[in-house]
Symmetry: D2
Subunit: 363 residues, 4 copies
């Protein structure tokens, strides 16, 4: 339970950090979508470990295999199964974790909930699971590209280093120009140094990722519960290490008066538009045709290369020395994951809207 | 689509601001729960309009009727249907809204998505719909009370007026002692004045509500997608006027180093506990036995008693003069709604956990 | 749990035989559908008790009220709630049933499953609940009528009296010309007598209903699990008193050789058609453009005006004398219910097909 | 869409006849279940082709690999992924099918619905997909065995050869003693000859499978829509080649008078029992503690080694000569599939019942 996401475009994720691999099944993908590994592998490369000096040195190729649902280069409309085998697993590196709970990790809660766990590399709670989301999200992105929808996430802040706001949605090249995935070059350099400093001290840092989406037509979202921003919030808080979500003006906007905050309508280029966009592209849970943007908070990585107090599975207090390979900051690698989950939410709502509102003509 | 919430304890909400009424159907409620109107009506009173000088003067009794699912004072295990009739409706007050889109409201998006809307009082997008959630949530709260779970939400900040942190979860009386539902008396007075000032100017204010939950056992939550905090985030961003959500240390926590942020385990009273609680009661998406707490941002009310620029349904620019009855600040009345949605999330996860993890014995 | 049906066009049914009433909420109905009570009440009249001398004399008007989701004669795309109040309830007529389990009824299983039940009129297990389905199904039927889909069910056999096969789908008038809802006049007369004979003896009879659907395009159905016939089978076996379902050639077809059973393709009127239709309009779980037809078996009514052996809630053996008002044969009133469930299945699959297969263009 | 089954114990099936393989993901499996390949492979052997002279000679080992969800011999409570690679694929054998639609197969409907298909071996519509169901069902069976629930299906009739009724549920050995999976030896011999005769003529036969389940406690099933028999009906009609389903007395029972059909209650061994069992173990959609039994009709195999009329993808009439490897009768291999789907339905309802009715104590 809890390992599927979406309604009409529905993914089921499976796999552990150390085991047969990580995989995903997509049910509901439209047929006749041109699809090849080249549509999927690039986002996995952006997510994979070992891609730069600021990420974990665990070296996984993360080569994806499409097992079903695609034939002669086109999707079949039947389930698409994808598999990434685990390669560079070092189960023995986790021996100490078998008995000791890592602070601010899921070891204790998994052990207590299930009464049994695979402790190697965090098992199912490992961020390695997000491979499934990125692979599925890449397909969702491709579908949306035919609608002219563009999703771009990037690192906006690490620790106390905040990028200035960017007027335009940056290009992929701009985001990828730094291993930090912060598209503002000066900020990116400072962020890189901040991460390296944390790494040197066996410590870690967090921050926030901004996701911006252009090209969404008016009408996606299914209030009252499945508002577009509600499903995005669930998608983001369903990612490992996330602590917060805000859409549009977010928490800061609640310091404004209503008269300062409202987005006034105007007529622009023959369309109903808003002159400001504190709503963040959604009103009443439905996209309004403006840019959709939201922010996700990621905590500093819980794994530290330091000695920390903890208890063992017998409840005895002890200490745990962080070892092995880890990211001093998860945000650069989380960027494609945020994009993937966003794409999954959007394509699902696009299909729901088509089914209920666009496929009938009663006149 | 989008009007049901939950999996095992599932509610379906219906109704518009001006029409036959507002109602809810609950499917999955356990049988033999003692239940009467006295369990439900009090929370509706906390939500209802006209309860104090800082809320809208619309005067609705909001008397709930239980139509099914309860017999001789006990739930039957079959669907519980509840109905609140609309009474103090003034459709003519909304005549202007038929043609003009209210800024930062859902008029435009509903009109465009559905091609047809009930403009009276906002129709389905009216916050009046939350009656359904409060009624259902009251039942969820009662169920959880048998598990010793206590849910308490309160206003923590309005505009720039922030309450100091409270060590203990306040009592219901403490929260209800001020019409602001801020349990810190000095802050409450300032907030009351702030809201009255906004009202006087035909303006509005927003802020944040803190929700704190005690007594949750270890093990509730269904990663990887249906993490406890993910479902709470969806529940909160599914409420009208919300712009953000954070659990535990939230956005502020991302400014800390990992070594400052981690919650270390210790043995306390024979239990595995954490010495701090920046995690906010969840780790890896599963409750860890500590206090669950999270914060929700509500924007300033969009309806203003001022003239605002907008466009009409023909796309012509025009002005709209806010009229009628509105809340200059939605937070005091939103407190029971936040509690209701929290209860719905928790009882659902409690049942899921029971089904998968507690009902089997394979030894 | 278990009181909702459908995915995209989803209904939630609630209510008991004796209580506040019976109702239904529809989520996912397309907007802008012209809808009035005249679209719904006629099918409720066909289902209501007291309509002829071969049905129960319980006299319920079953007047439906639309509480939400329709505005100025058009659906809003938001939930449609409908309510039928219970009127002619006689709880005291059921006093004996409080302690004694009626044979082949759900008294014992409800009591044991839930530990508590409303025994009056069978409570939730009463066929009165099907009002919810008929009301919702009437809307589904209307939607489908815009696609040219026509659903017609009728009584084909009662006890041992079997109607000859009808070449064409009969008209509504033909079905309604007899209170038996058997459109073959000579058979209808015999069936009427058979039911009256059973009634006279305080006994009951069963039989089978044939449902035929014309106008379905090729492509509805979602294998591998949600085949069109699988969802229809669930819909039919989800009706009270049903014991069997067969599509196309059904059980009889399994006595044929493959070479006798296969439907050969031919080109007819520029379309791919089959020269026979033992498949019953579905192949591989997907509609093939031929007439869809299936048969549902209804057992003889369990309530008898006779003394029967049973046990009481203490487990003591005793006797129960059937009293009150009942149908000696449920099939005539079940005809609109079968049609309603069929419509619900079809409109759901129509919407799923639109979402996945018709709303994209990747070329 | 349509490739998942179940609510709490939910499987997602994927794969085509000719491609990367067939697989399944199970979400919701309880943790700590002892599980190894030995629990799963035997049922796959019963389903696999090439097991006897009355089945297809396609020679697939169908060795299953568990990719996730099991650790040190116990389930983790996280998703279980299983994979069976395709081996003995002969795509060229299907070249003719690329352009011509096989009669009574899904070629035409898949092609029209999706606009694209993998014609090799029937692609997704191949019965090879049922590997996924059998693998998942084997786990469900094991779970149920701890509750004392025993599921046994067997061939009851092929063409016109009907087995006499068996008083007791046969043992596995009795069912497996004949390649026909008819546990009545004399009938089995006749059936074997019947199938061989059909095979010799390039023809095929159908029949019915009876499934009997002992040990179900009172209370499983979720009316009004998710009745136990409704979910079983969906499970059965969701299998390839099925045309009918009946529970308990089925269609035959509708020829009885109510006074002949009712199951009277009696007190037996301190329990409430019925003296007959025409209900088939369910009343009002809920198990009543008696043996559950139901019957499924399978049509004669559509693939014939004969020349048949059909049309091609251009709509031109043509002929198709059946080639390759096929089963002249699918029922013997369908027996473990029926058991698997039954187990999936039952374990899901067991968990639902535990969640709603057994996990609370309000006194």
């Amino acid at each position: 339970m809890g390992n599927s996401f979406g309604n009409l475009f529905r993914i089921s994720s499976w796999g552990e950090s150390h085991g047969g691999g990580i995989g995903v099944v997509i049910d509901g993908c439209p047929p006749r979508l041109p699809l090849s590994l080249d549509d999927i592998q690039p986002d996995l490369q952006r997510r994979r470990p070992g891609q730069s000096k600021i990420t974990t040195p665990r070296d996984e190729e993360d080569k994806v295999e499409i097992l079903s649902g695609v034939y002669e280069g086109l999707t079949l409309g039947t389930p698409i199964a994808m598999l990434v085998r685990n390669k560079d697993a070092r189960p023995q590196a986790y021996d100490e974790m078998k008995e000791k709970f890592r602070p601010s990790h899921a070891d204790f809660t998994y052990q207590t909930k299930f009464g049994h766990r695979n402790h190697e590399g965090g098992g199912r709670s490992s961020a390695r699971e997000t491979i499934a989301r990125v692979a599925a999200g890449a397909i969702a992105k491709k579908i949306l590209s035919f609608d002219g929808v563009l999703i771009r996430a990037y690192v906006e802040r690490i620790h106390d280093i905040q990028s200035p706001a960017l007027t335009k949605i940056p290009t992929l090249d701009e985001v990828e120009s730094s291993p930090t995935r912060c598209p503002h070059p000066k900020t990116a350099l400072k962020i890189e140094q901040c991460i390296l400093d944390a790494k040197k001290n066996g410590d870690s840092v967090g921050g926030s990722i901004l996701c911006r989406v252009g090209g969404i037509p008016v009408g996606w979202g299914a209030p009252v519960f499945d508002r577009l921003e509600a499903d995005l919030a669930k998608a983001m808080l369903g990612l490992p290490a996330t602590k917060g979500f805000e859409v549009g003006s977010g928490f800061a906007g609640t310091h404004l008066m209503g008269s300062e905050h409202n987005d006034l309508y105007e007529s622009r280029d023959g369309k109903v538009r808003t002159s400001s966009n504190r709503s963040g592209g959604v009103q009443g849970g439905i996209s309004n045709g403006e840019e959709l943007y939201f922010r996700t908070a990621f905590k500093p990585t819980a794994t530290l290369l330091q000695k920390q107090k903890t208890v063992d599975s017998e409840g005895q207090e002890t200490e745990l020395m962080g070892r092995g390979r880890h990211d001093p900051c998860v945000l650069p690698r989380a960027v494609p994951i945020v994009e993937a989950m966003t794409a999954l939410v959007l394509v699902d709502h696009r299909m729901r809207h088509a089914a209920q509102c666009e496929s009938f003509n009663f006149s």
